[in-house]
Subunit: 392 residues, 2 copies
């Protein structure tokens, strides 16, 4: 009898536990690190679920919209709507709320530029978040640099990371990485949700990367005037990105940005000490620009943005002789979903490049998709490989 009771209890608990796991979230939600100061919501639990909450007493329908899925919130007696998403990948995600048909930012979150708009973002704590944690180590600076661009006939701005010791010894000169955001993002992506400065500060403090300057500019708003520009939230028609995008940014980068950086920062202003990398659209721009300019860039990084083939190299005179590294990376879910495109299997292309005598590095970010955690990790893998074999 006692036995039977125990067994029954066990069965009940098991079924209960099973149902619980299927329908309800683990109740260990905490405010997200990306919240506005003092805000209790949104929250994240140990499963990576997002719990949103907003007071909207007269609303008829409120939804949380994250990773292309809309989750209904439910209203309590005080008119506060609350609800949970399914589990999200580790790392950073853009999201928004829908209130009676209006798509709006969550007033509890900080705001980030992505999907062609300033809006809500949320951080799902990652197993490896230590590599971009804010620590008591020497810190570099992120500088807002305003400059005039002849090619665009306008004032522009970029952000420049200078390493921790930059102002200590004003005779020392540094290599430079030009690091580009993706489509629908801007120059705030890498210094903001990309956590570029913290990744570099931690790598440099650990002796794992050489100190170098990083320039983060806007690769979208640097097109010839007649290039079709996407409206907020829209993808432009035709090939992605349009040819003009890479070409327009190429002129701006080569003729405006690099000379301005070399004139205003203590750079090592030669090919051996210059790298370019980018994510998604920025990776495609990197491919076009570095293949056409092997005298300008020695190191190439493409994060979730295609790859370089042997045919590409054969059509790029001087590239094979002068390039020092081709780094290709993807999130594992992109490869599973075959969201690689952009000119064939990136790993096969990269293996073939290595066979052809190019120094290559292929990296896969575990359990992430076309999103910032893949790109933070890519920078963290890429940076230690840069500027290592220059005896200077």
């Amino acid at each position: 009898m006692r036995h039977l009771k125990s067994i029954l209890l066990l069965i009940v608990l098991s079924i209960g536990g099973f149902c619980f796991a299927q329908t309800a979230a683990v109740e260990d939600f905490k405010p997200a690190s990306t919240n506005q100061p003092g805000r209790e919501y949104p929250q994240v639990n140990s499963e990576g679920r997002v719990r949103a909450s907003i007071s909207a007493p007269e609303a008829l329908k409120v939804q949380l919209d994250i990773s292309a899925v809309k989750y209904d919130l439910t209203k309590d007696a005080n008119g506060v709507w609350t609800g949970d998403s399914g589990p999200q990948d580790e790392g950073f995600h853009y999201y928004q709320l829908w209130i009676d048909g209006a798509a709006v930012p969550d007033p509890g979150s900080m705001y980030f530029y992505g999907a062609s708009r300033w809006g809500s973002g949320i951080e799902i704590p990652a197993q490896d978040q230590d590599f971009y944690a804010l620590k008591n180590v020497p810190h570099g600076q992120i500088r807002e640099q305003i400059y005039f661009s002849k090619n665009n006939n306008s004032m522009r701005r970029c952000f420049v990371y200078t390493p921790p010791d930059y102002d200590k010894d004003t005779t020392k000169r540094y290599p430079v990485l030009y690091l580009q955001h993706g489509g629908g993002e801007d120059e705030t992506g890498w210094p903001g949700q990309g956590k570029t400065n913290l990744i570099m500060d931690n790598l440099i403090a650990a002796g794992k990367a050489k100190p170098f300057i990083i320039v983060m500019d806007n690769g979208t708003w640097a097109m010839p005037a007649n290039t079709p520009r996407p409206k907020p939230g829209e993808r432009p028609a035709g090939p992605w990105p349009p040819t003009g995008w890479a070409d327009g940014f190429k002129k701006t980068l080569l003729e405006d940005i690099i000379p301005m950086i070399d004139a205003n920062y203590r750079t090592q202003a030669d090919q051996q000490h210059r790298a370019m990398a980018g994510l998604s659209m920025g990776g495609m721009q990197t491919r076009v620009i570095t293949l056409a300019n092997p005298d300008v860039f020695a190191y190439v990084g493409m994060f979730s943005g295609g790859s370089i083939s042997v045919e590409d190299i054969n059509n790029a005179p001087g590239f094979k002789e002068k390039n020092k590294l081709v780094f290709i990376s993807y999130g594992s879910r992109e490869l599973e979903n075959r969201r690689m495109g952009f000119g064939g299997d990136p790993q096969a292309n990269t293996d073939a490049l290595k066979e052809a005598g190019i120094k290559t590095h292929f990296y896969v970010s575990p359990n992430t998709a076309h999103e910032w955690q893949s790109w933070r990790r890519s920078l963290h893998e890429f940076a230690p490989l840069l500027f290592q074999d220059n005896a200077k």
Copy 2:
């Protein structure tokens, strides 16, 4: 008969015109300069009215909430709600939308920190906006500086403006202004909506101000742990600001921030080359901190944040001998509304200080209230008076 017709027409037109002026906006609305890239709304017209517009097909009620007034929007056949505010003062204003009882940021605007939240802001074009316009002149940098604070036992950040020639001659040293935001704002206020860098770049390009460094830190989150902290959108009970706020920030400023700045920037690290100013709560902190430390600061600026009396000076040993300027300013509407408080009539106090032998400057910003246009203009008036009589 012809005469009568003309007179009648004139009367009709006059009445029509009168009614129009009372009820309808002048139809010369343009997208605000503070909009997100590519967004058509919100818009501003020549009267300073704000026109908001948002798609919310299922909403029952949508309002524009600006300068403490809520304006109803009306819905068209496509579910888009649109409506106008009354005329606003020139300059920058925080605002938000209400959708069926939910207070949310406008997805069309850029976001700014004020009223203890990141939310929408809008720029009403000002007659004198040229002084903070982005021009093709030499530009300084805004640097994000991360540092460890012993007093707070945590990592903190501030923004540091370095003037245009800072990196050109690395032997030159510069005076420093410590410039504080108001209550419910943070260290992003002055470099963001304050347009500090553009005001300084333009003044320096015109030869109207000496180049100096400006440090913008967070005056709220530097309190002893037991100081009551306001919740978002709330004012704390009791005196404003609580005594602990000025004291907490005083220790952080004197023991953490100033030594860090002097160690990491090429400062002229003495009293003669150090100023402190702030707006509203930041002005009150400036008053407490500079009166208690005449050996540390030579120049004092309080913008819409009270004044310094002869009694204050008499109770501050050394201040009268060592101070080089007390600058007090207000928006004209604050004086009209007698929103001066904080220790008596600021103009009378300042006149009495001058009588007592202190060098003073009293400035009134025309047709503005307790808002950023008053403070941009105050900085623009204050900066040319700084560090002028140091023969060094």
